[in-house]
Amino acid sequence: MVGVVSYGFYIPKYRITVDEIAKTWRKNPEDVKKSLNMREKAVAGADEDSLTMGFESAAMALQETKIDRKKINIVFFGSETPPYVVNPASTILGEFLNIGNNYLAYDTQFACKAATGAMISAFGMIKSGFSKYALICASDKANAKPHDPLEYTASSGSASFLLGDSDLLLELIDFESFSSDTPDFWRREGIRYPSHGGRFTGKPSYFYHIQQATKVLLRKTKLKPENFAHAIFHMPNGKFPQEVAASLGFTKTQIEKSLVVSHLGNSYTASVLMGLVSTLESAKKGDLIFLCSYGSGAGSDAFIFRATNKIERRKKEFEKIINKKKNIDYSTYLKFMHII
């Protein structure tokens, strides 16, 4: 059996509210809040980037484990906003975590599902005996062009998962992936801000891929939505995960705990995993957990996990930590994002 041994997360303390952004652009904040189901989002400071946040979350994932770090032979770093286009963040991460040099490292990119795709690869490699452990880090300091609707949601954050084959807090029951050439969101080489296809990012993109991946996995495992204690879907905004969950037969209660997007924003690769981190705070032994990511371009990875008896001891305090925050104004936000 393979699964999750430990996990960590990092949310920068700065927040910018929808009101503050809407006020700048003379939009009615109530209209924006209603249409996106968003209140505020987390913003990394001027001296933070996807790598520094990735280090924070990975360090937390390893902090309380007693494992031999030299047995981590895999480090994957998934991001849409890595600090370098050429030069891996995964090796810098490995170096600073002091895991030696006998490891396979690479950075992965697949929009918001870069890390869940890496997880699937790592699970396979652990199962094949290549490594005892794998460290998967999802991290983004997501930017958006000023005045683009993305500005209300694109946020900063990181989540890391240590995968292994024993002493698990989450057992992997099964997974499935669904991909197609659907160009709904992209950023070309040398271009600072991502572009997107507006409403095209919805029905034929986010909804279609999540629905297909979910249906295939449920059919394969002969499980039904009601069998799960919790479900987590990628969160580009506060509205989509609720709509996709309802369309698949999951209830509000099942996804409730995962919906961190309305107050933390969409931290791209970390978004769905941050939903898992939040969910684990209230997960109990034996709980079945459904998770489905979405990456533009496009694809979805769906997973089914079962919480073990280790969950109680290893779950991390989440809500209390994210409530330690500081609000910033729009000009500070632009400065922190290096837009000005």
Binding site: N28, D31, G197, G198, R199, F200, K203, P204
Partner: protein, 383 residues
């Protein structure tokens, strides 16, 4: 006499998997099938389209239609902003009347959702005067100014406008080809976000993809063979200043008044003879003005008359308006709209409008506007 002997429309909406010419192709093949015609029986094609040149870099689209049909007949592309379809119909009818040909196909189409809303809005603004574009006006802005003027002159407010969307969304729910099939409450309309005060999202027609086609014929033998056919009793075009600032009144569309007067004079019909009408409701205010300018309602009374919902399907009044859902709910693929309006009247007059069929409809009118009233086409159909 020219008759309309066939109609087909694609579904309107966000048709992500279909290109402009996929839509044109579906509409052409659909109308040929519905009219039971072979392509060799078509003498010419008129294509109404506004934005293929701006958004798709496809200006020579007439030759593309020849490629689709695999024919070498004359094909004409017609552009008059949102009245491109209506004007293509007008030219097709005139071509039949002035040439030794018997049957023409008129197709209108637009592919709008492949571009970003900014690109599409900017392309749509090319239908406005250059000076007003430079001043920053877009179509929502122009119609918002028209609405403000109307409110100031007659003391109406946003609630009066909301009745138009309420009615047309109800109609759209009955039309399987409509972009939006959801019924709306007055509260939902009034609570929707502003796009250009006092107009809200739910006062506005959407950006849609779609194509519609009709067959016109002057061949009596062919017309008699068709069980479903209607005569074109009048089809009149009028123009007005493209700039709003040059108009004496901005809460009326003078071109609508002129085209309507001519159409009623040519057809020798009265307003009260019209049973069904499709009017150009690109924004809710536009339907109220259309009803006044076409002469169905007195000037200044439209804001009040719409609240009676007498033109809603199911009402016992003698005139039902925008059974297709109008531009508001059926959608507004610019080049297709004028053809869809005429097609909807055709369906009503030939008893093919299924669950939205107005009983005993015999005479119908279609009103197609380009820009904010720079071009208007009024068509009256009946037997």
């Amino acid at each position: 006499m020219v008759s309309l002997i066939g109609y087909y429309t694609t579904k309107f909406g966000e048709l992500w998997n279909l290109s402009l010419f996929d839509l044109v192709s579906e509409a052409i093949n659909g109308v040929l099938k519905n009219a039971k015609l072979e392509k060799k029986q078509i003498d010419a094609v008129f294509f109404g389209n506004m934005m293929a040149g701006v958004l798709g870099n496809n200006l020579h689209s007439s030759a593309k239609i020849a490629e689709i049909l695999k024919v070498n007949i004359p094909v004409f592309r017609v552009e008059a902003a949102c009245a491109s379809g209506g004007l293509a119909f007008h030219l097709g009818k005139n071509y039949l009347e002035t040439n030794r040909v018997r049957t023409v196909l008129v197709v209108g189409a637009e592919k709008m959702t492949d571009s970003s809303p900014e690109e599409t809005t900017s392309a749509l603004a090319s239908a406005a005067s250059g000076e007003e574009q430079e001043a920053g006006l877009t179509f929502p802005g122009l119609y918002a100014m028209i609405a403000q003027s109307y409110f100031n002159n007659y003391g109406y407010n946003e609630k009066n406008l909301a009745y138009v969307s309420y009615k047309n969304h109800f109609h759209g729910s009955l039309n399987e080809k409509a972009h939006f099939r959801k019924r709306l409450t007055m509260e939902q309309i009034l609570e929707s976000p502003y796009i250009a005060y006092p107009l809200k999202v739910l006062d506005s027609s959407p950006i849609s993809d779609g194509a519609s086609a009709v067959i016109l014929s002057s061949d009596n033998f062919l017309i008699k063979k068709r069980k479903e056919s209607v005569n074109v009793l009048a089809n009149e075009v009028a123009t007005d200043t493209i700039s709003l600032k040059e108009r004496k009144k901005i809460d009326e569309l003078l071109a609508t008044k002129i085209a309507a007067e001519k159409a009623f004079a040519v057809s020798k019909l009265k307003r009260s003879d019209i049973d069904v009408a499709e009017v150009h409701d690109c924004f809710s205010i536009a339907e109220i003005l259309a009803m006044e300018d076409l002469g169905f309602w007195k000037k200044g009374e439209g804001g009040k008359r719409i609240t009676e919902l007498s033109t809603m399907f199911g009402s016992k009044s003698s005139l039902i308006v925008n059974t297709s859902g109008g531009l508001k709910a059926a959608g507004h693929p610019v080049g297709a709209t004028g053809i869809k309006q005429i097609g909807e009247i055709f369906l009503q007059l030939t008893d093919q409008a299924t669950n939205r069929q107005v009983k005993g409809a015999e005479i119908g009118l279609a009103h197609n506007v380009g820009g904010s009233g720079g071009t208007v086409v009024v068509t009256i159909l009946g037997n």
